[in-house]
Symmetry: C2
Subunit: 254 residues, 2 copies
């Protein structure tokens, strides 16, 4: 049962270098911690923006080489979009959720529902490439988690985060797309509140909230691709982002 929480701290990890395909993420992140004068401690959680992961994994597509279909070209030109990016987004999807008024919401192969399959042309290299989501974000999170354990001897849960839009509400918030070393959801059902009332619908998406807290520190225009979150009482577990995805049969908005 959770006790009262201490102060939470979100410590930015800055990285001077550009990330290139083949780079070792654990090494980069340790270097970023060193450059930021931070050390990993027991209890810390590491949140990493997905972009450096995608870059290290070489997950980009040269836009010049993409040949969009006639349908993608027609739709893109109607809404002033880049047809090649639309084409890449469709190729990365397993299902179109909505394609309306220039907005393309897809379900990615991983099962994330987001705009343009998470394909991104900002913060890459001036718009020549489209950056894809990491291939297997859970596996990458687990790899970083294991490497930190091996190098530092400390259990550090790892969350990979991307900025997603949401129905009904404007603006982006962060979502956990890969999780290792902790439970992504904390379940308070069955516990009683201070009045003795049994809590009903209290499952918290703590991995998403941790990603959002980190997002306040990992700015979009800054070279701060990761953060340490210190002071959150996570529940240790192998971890995965999959429990955050609502199964289609329980979802009312597909």
């Amino acid at each position: 049962m959770p006790r009262s929480t201490p102060e939470l701290r979100v410590l930015p990890l800055r990285l001077r270098e550009e990330v290139a395909p083949g780079d070792s993420l654990p090494e980069l992140l340790q270097r970023a911690a060193k450059q930021s004068r931070q050390t990993f401690r027991a209890g810390d959680i590491l949140v990493v923006k997905h972009k450096i992961v995608s870059k290290a994994e070489g997950r980009w597509v040269e836009l010049e080489k993409v040949k969009p279909t006639a349908a993608s070209r027609a739709w893109a030109s109607r809404y002033g979009l880049d047809a090649r990016v639309v084409e890449v987004a469709l190729a990365e999807s397993r299902r179109i959720v909505r394609r309306t008024r220039g907005v393309l919401i897809t379900e990615t192969r991983h099962g994330f529902i987001c705009a343009n399959s998470g394909v991104d042309v900002s913060n890459v290299n001036g718009g020549k490439h489209a950056l894809l989501l990491p291939k297997d974000p859970d596996a990458t999170a687990a790899k970083i988690h294991r490497a930190l354990k091996k190098r530092l001897g400390v259990h550090i849960p790892v969350i990979l985060a991307d900025s997603f839009g949401r129905p009904w509400r404007e603006g982006l918030t962060e979502a956990a797309i890969g999780v290792a070393g902790m439970k992504p959801l904390q379940d308070h059902r069955g516990l009683r509140d201070p009045h003795g009332y049994r809590l009903n619908a209290s499952v918290d998406a703590v991995a998403d909230s941790l990603a959002c807290a980190a997002g306040l520190v990992c700015g979009k225009l800054e070279r701060t691709p990761a953060c340490i979150v210190r002071g959150f009482r996570y529940e240790a577990a192998p971890g995965s982002a999959r429990p955050l995805l609502r199964p289609a049969q329980n979802d009312l908005f597909r």
Copy 2:
């Protein structure tokens, strides 16, 4: 243009007392800060869980006195729900978004889309009352903001937060339902990333992310109804949660 962000801190404000109708929220929050040995500083943001606001405003309904319609009774009994709570949720809504398999998603009179119009029976008084959302969360946030300014001479933005579910993803995260003293969205469109690429879809729902960061500290089972968030570079403004609500004509999931 945002510079690199310093460390973010989320400081819990604990409150020993129960909140009762008619209580002064600025007074309660100042007392909570004092009991938690915190002081408000320039640059701080105050995040308040909506429940103590609703309690102070006497926004509850005695469930014994609610007479559910036959339709509410039938639907509730089919899914093992309390028909009186369903009835209160419907009364608080201006539109039903979905009513499927025991899940009732409504648009509240304020324009929030959430389960059961935000009506809550946990953490109230053992299940005898249903707690409604604050009547005008923006107005309450502004009132607290002005009172803190007057008492302390410091500009402290105020965010009122509630836990909402989301389509596609499991678990609750926090949403800002009232905002005063800062912009709820930060717009990076037109700015250029470190590669010179113009950012397209980069509007961040910072008020929601701040609410999520606070939610990690304001636990459900603890008497920690508020937090100070320190170290976030907000953009000062009169503030409102309304810009966070996507207009119906731009929303693909209503």
